[in-house]
């Protein structure tokens, strides 16, 4: 590494050629390191993500034993999705199948801003009753002991056992908006009872589910037959 003679006390300014050459070499070496690291870790990362996804989908749709990923395209129609790639304007969802290969439920993600950062949830939907039957929290940064009760509070999670998500007559949106209401004031099947003292985080969950359902379910309704059987 030390082929050059000892540097003089005041080094001459480097020529443009030297600058460009050095930056080029550095960029090449660094590029190799990055691409190497990416390729080496790709299999493990993909496997990790797949395992985490399956865990969360099977939690919100207990009868499921396998899942397939789809996208609902902006112009209408659904198509099988390449894992990790979502075309612009398309909505990603998962069709979960039981052991016989029949549709056990649909799972989709929703995200909304909570107290500290985004709250990302996965909900399970049953086309038969047009209702949401399960909820899992994928990621959150809410306050421990307060906001993070959305993960553990049984009364809160019970809201999502039969949450009404029926579409209106035109199949263009939900018949009634899914909303989080103050703790103890839930009257209708499409409302979510907030956790007392954790209103902001509870509202974030409600908003995440509502935004996602309002966008996905109208697109999904006409295409249900395409996902009924395991591909």
């Amino acid at each position: 590494m030390n082929e050059s003679p000892p540097a003089p006390s005041a080094p001459a300014p480097a020529s443009t050629r030297d600058l460009v050459l050095t930056l080029g070499v550095v960029a090449a070496v660094c590029g190799l390191v990055i691409v190497g690291a990416y390729q080496l870790s790709l299999d493990a990362v993909t496997a990790n993500r797949r395992a985490a996804l399956e865990r969360s989908v099977f939690t919100v749709i207990p009868a499921a034993t396998s899942l397939a990923e789809f996208v609902a395209l902006p112009g209408g129609g659904v198509a099988p999705a390449t894992p990790g790639e979502v075309p612009p304007g398309a909505l990603r969802f998962f069709a979960a199948y039981d052991a016989a290969g029949n549709l056990a439920g649909i799972a989709a993600e929703g995200v909304a801003k909570g107290y500290a950062d985004s709250v990302r949830v996965l909900f399970g939907y049953q086309p038969g009753c047009q209702c949401i039957t399960g909820l899992g929290v994928v990621s959150h940064r809410e306050t421990p002991g307060i906001g993070d009760r959305i993960v553990t509070d049984k009364a809160f999670l019970a809201n999502f056992r039969a949450l009404d998500a029926r579409l209106n007559a035109e199949l263009s949106a939900l018949a009634s908006e899914i909303r989080t209401v103050k703790h103890g004031t839930k009257k209708n099947a499409w409302q979510i009872d907030a956790i007392s003292g954790a209103t902001i985080t509870s509202r974030a969950v409600g908003k995440a589910v509502n935004d996602s359902a309002q966008a996905l379910l109208p697109r999904l309704a006409p295409e249900l037959e395409k996902v009924r059987k395991k591909p």
Binding site: L23, G36, Y38, S41, V45, N48, A52, R141
Partner: protein, 211 residues
């Protein structure tokens, strides 16, 4: 290694660990220090990740020190550091998604951790690779130590656990603010206070003698 070199290597390592501890003495690298130290496990992980980037970057910078012209040295250092941070980012994703979610954006923010660029510029660019890497390892160890001390206190007070193991009984009321941003500031301020007090006490006891 010769007997002359061995003590020097040890000194290089200890310098970063204690006398010039990045967290408590130089007060550098504050952003990840406060953000991820909500638990001791997160603190150690962030410390180790930063140490890896530190050692690797200083090693590469030191190896290239005679080849990089002065004018572009900062840009070069930044690109090298960003490369290793990207590598660490993928490594953590491959190891544990849960840890990756917990550390969040602060893994990628290691690239702007003042410690790394500071060390590369002040030390690695003027010393041979082995010396540079040992010094970097010392700095990284000091940083990890600082993070763990902070994370341990915040976790004990804010959740009643240490490394996930519950320390107090079920009746313990956790001091939740310690896990929130204000708590981070208070606990770090408390540690700095403790260190400052301890340093002054040492100075008063050993006024003249100092190797």
């Amino acid at each position: 290694m010769s007997t002359v070199a061995a003590p020097r290597t040890r000194d290089e390592f200890l310098e970063g660990l204690w006398k010039q501890n990045p967290v408590f003495v130089m007060v550098l690298g504050m952003c990840p220090t406060l953000a991820v130290t909500v638990s001791a496990v997160n603190a150690i992980s962030m410390g180790l990740a930063t140490t890896f980037v530190l050692v690797a970057s200083c090693g590469l910078v030191s190896s290239m020190r005679r080849l990089v012209p002065r004018e572009v040295r900062i840009a070069t250092y930044i690109v090298i550091i960003a490369t290793f941070v990207t590598a660490v980012d993928y490594a953590i994703q491959a190891l544990s998604l849960a840890l990756y979610d917990a550390l969040g954006a602060f893994i990628q923010l290691i690239v702007v951790n003042c410690i790394i660029l500071g060390r590369a510029e002040a030390h690695a660019s003027r010393n041979p690779p082995v010396t540079a890497m040992v010094n970097a390892a010392g700095m990284g160890a000091g940083f990890t130590l600082g993070l763990v001390l902070l994370g341990a206190v915040r976790e004990i007070l804010g959740a009643g656990t240490l490394f996930g193991i519950a320390l107090f009984g079920a009746g313990f009321q956790p001091w939740v603010v310690m896990l929130l941003p204000p708590g981070g500031f208070f606990v770090l301020g408390g540690w700095l206070l403790a260190f400052s007090w301890w340093a002054r006490r040492r100075e008063r006891r050993e006024p003249a003698s100092h190797a």
